[in-house]
Symmetry: C2
Subunit: 212 residues, 2 copies
Amino acid sequence: MAPAPRLVLATRNPGKLRELRELLRGQVPGLDVDTQVIDAAAAGVPDVPETGVTFEENALLKAHAVAAATGLPAVADDSGLAVDVLGGAPGIFSARWSGLHGDDAANLALLLAQLADIAAEHRGAAFVCAAALALPDGSETVERGELRGTLLQAPRGEGGFGYDPILLPAGEERSCAELSGAEKNAISHRGQAFRALVPALVAALAEEKTGA
Amino acid sequence: MAPAPRLVLATRNPGKLRELRELLRGQVPGLDVDTQVIDAAAAGVPDVPETGVTFEENALLKAHAVAAATGLPAVADDSGLAVDVLGGAPGIFSARWSGLHGDDAANLALLLAQLADIAAEHRGAAFVCAAALALPDGSETVERGELRGTLLQAPRGEGGFGYDPILLPAGEERSCAELSGAEKNAISHRGQAFRALVPALVAALAEEKTGA
């Protein structure tokens, strides 16, 4: 008999699910990400409206909703691209920037069009991630990671997802979409936030085991 | 013989041209806005790329370019909608928010779609205007005006232009597009900035007259 799922990832984005699984692989003793980590769609959890106005608020909203619906520890992130000259926008609106939720190509094309007249020295930006863990008892932990860089004038690379093809991380000569998954996870906003969350995950799963 | 044009408005936006003429009417002694105030298109000035990253920078860029091209005092403004939850965006990008420069309907529809999940208490915003005067000798003046309010969930009213139909000014029950032109000018960001600019305009035109 397969072990029961013990951790739910509150996402419906396949790119993010893949990345989160890679980030968790080998990090949490006793957790087999292929069988024990499922996503919100697989757990049958309805979509959670992101009504918060910060990355942290939205990550916690999603994690609590999924933990309450499944009775399992739930992990969620809210991530986005904060563009300096836009005062931090698209920010929490990154996934729906074009008005079309999850249409990476439309979102990226719109941002490039908006910034068309902006020269390189004003194209600073950062990927930001808030990673949250919520438990069915209502307790929570949230951590933030950031990856600073410069926005390109046109997309480069085939890897990653979202705005990866237009962010050149500081000190890098390749866009985030030209890095391997492992290279990206080593420096990414999401990698930083999830690594910071690991101790809380380990504690939560140990508690769950003891409680069961 | 008609008097020669003496002031150029650096805009190609008919709504803005109409508003600026109304704002200047009767404000500058001896200036007949119908015959002496022309726009950049009428003066045959090529479009000026807005490469600045603040309202003030862009207003000054346009005013200087038009003053240099025409040898006349030139007035320009850069205006936009600064949305709190977007960190001040669309800001200087307001007119090209959808990627389609000057398409008010597309820009407004995109902004409403981006903010669809945002509740009323987080929908604070301000119209911002920087009004600049540049003289052919390179001297300059720039003034700022702001009109704070709350963003509606759907457009209301037929007046104005741009984002007027979705901003409810603080203390008002009508959107900016439901106010008369005179009511809007009395409180608007552009009205405030242009009224602040009047003394510099009066001085510049007096100087021009003396110099001629």
